[in-house]
């Protein structure tokens, strides 16, 4: 086994997510979590990627077993709640409510030639406010300081989901 972790194989992750859409296993997806925040702020260490998807299936499992099977056939490995691509952990999380809106309204980007979507900063802030862990509060502060935020959109999201930004 290699002693060094690989660089983050994000293009592979996004390619796989596009493949899941093409295969009809998910309807849509966007990059969320820390990597989505990093799209807008200074780089910081993170150890996994979060792919938030809109399920094609309405059942309780949100089609996750089929997603896992599809990716495992393509060489991905399973390690507890993560799927590993080139030893890099990726989590596939079914969207609901605010995260579903975040996927639908996500920004279209291209990463190393791979078309993809990434959460808008306003949705990242609202999701962080809804979770409220220390690292989420730090993320809000970072985004407000470093990213271009559409305050009207942010206020609208916060109002609709009855959320509040932490007081500094």
């Amino acid at each position: 086994m290699s002693e060094e972790p690989p660089a983050i194989p994000l293009a592979d992750v996004l390619r796989a997510a596009n493949d899941l859409v093409a295969a009809g296993l998910i309807k849509d997806y966007a990059l969320g979590g820390a990597l989505a925040a990093i799209y807008y702020v200074e780089p910081f260490t993170t150890y996994d990627a979060d792919i938030i998807f809109i399920a094609a299936e309405k059942g309780l499992t949100a089609g996750i077993p089929a997603i896992y099977a599809h990716l495992q056939e393509r060489g991905w490995r399973v390690d507890r709640e993560h799927l590993l691509v080139k030893d890099f952990p990726v989590q596939f999380l079914a969207a609901a409510g605010l995260t579903k809106e975040a996927v639908r309204k996500a920004r279209e980007i291209e990463y190393e030639g791979v078309p993809a979507k990434v959460f808008r900063p306003e949705h990242i802030i609202a999701i962080a406010a809804s979770v409220g862990r220390h690292k989420d509060l730090a993320r809000i502060e970072q985004l407000l300081e470093q990213a271009e935020i559409d305050r009207t959109l942010l206020d609208d999201i916060l109002r609709r989901y009855k959320l509040q930004l932490p007081k500094s």
Partner: protein, 167 residues
């Protein structure tokens, strides 16, 4: 780090940022392997509040220079005062370490009542770059906040932290 520089870093192309994080992860793994081979991982674990005198003495030799006032205040549960964003703060330090953005940070509960007779709210994260006039207030406190997490998720390395409070 100055805000302007952080904004400049934020404006880098996404691909470049991801490459930088990949390099950081590789570097971090190399350091861990080196530490293990030198049998100093015990020192890394010891960079918490309960360090032995031997570990404390080893730190300067290893190039580790942290704020001794913060470390001693956490170890002895001493209340601190400092100026932050133009305001005098009276705080109970909980954890001191390195943030995910690579900054030295202090997690501390800011007293709303000067004598600390009533606690309300959560501990805040203070950037050491913005702290000035740091000093001991002369008061002490009994234990960490009930919500205290010694493995603060906002930090990648912890230099000193309080023990989990008694129930």
């Amino acid at each position: 780090m100055k805000t302007d520089l952080r904004r400049t870093l934020a404006r880098q192309p996404f691909e470049q940022k991801i490459r930088q994080i990949g390099q950081l992860l590789q570097l971090s793994a190399k350091v861990k392997i080196q530490r293990a081979s030198d049998n100093v991982d015990s020192v890394a674990r010891g960079l918490r509040a309960h360090k032995t005198p031997k570990i404390l003495a080893a730190e300067p030799r290893m190039g580790i220079r942290r704020n001794p006032l913060l470390i001693s205040a956490i170890r002895q549960k001493l209340v601190l005062q400092f100026i932050y964003n133009g305001k005098l703060r009276t705080v109970e330090p909980q954890t001191y370490g390195l943030s995910t953005a690579g900054q030295e940070v202090l997690r501390a509960y800011e007293r709303t009542i000067p004598n600390g007779s009533k606690r309300a709210g959560m501990a805040k994260l203070f950037d050491l770059n913005k702290i000035s006039s740091l000093r001991k207030s002369g008061q002490s406190f009994s234990q960490a906040l009930p919500t205290h997490n010694p493995d603060d998720s906002a930090m990648v390395e912890i230099f000193a932290t309080l023990p989990v409070p008694r129930k």
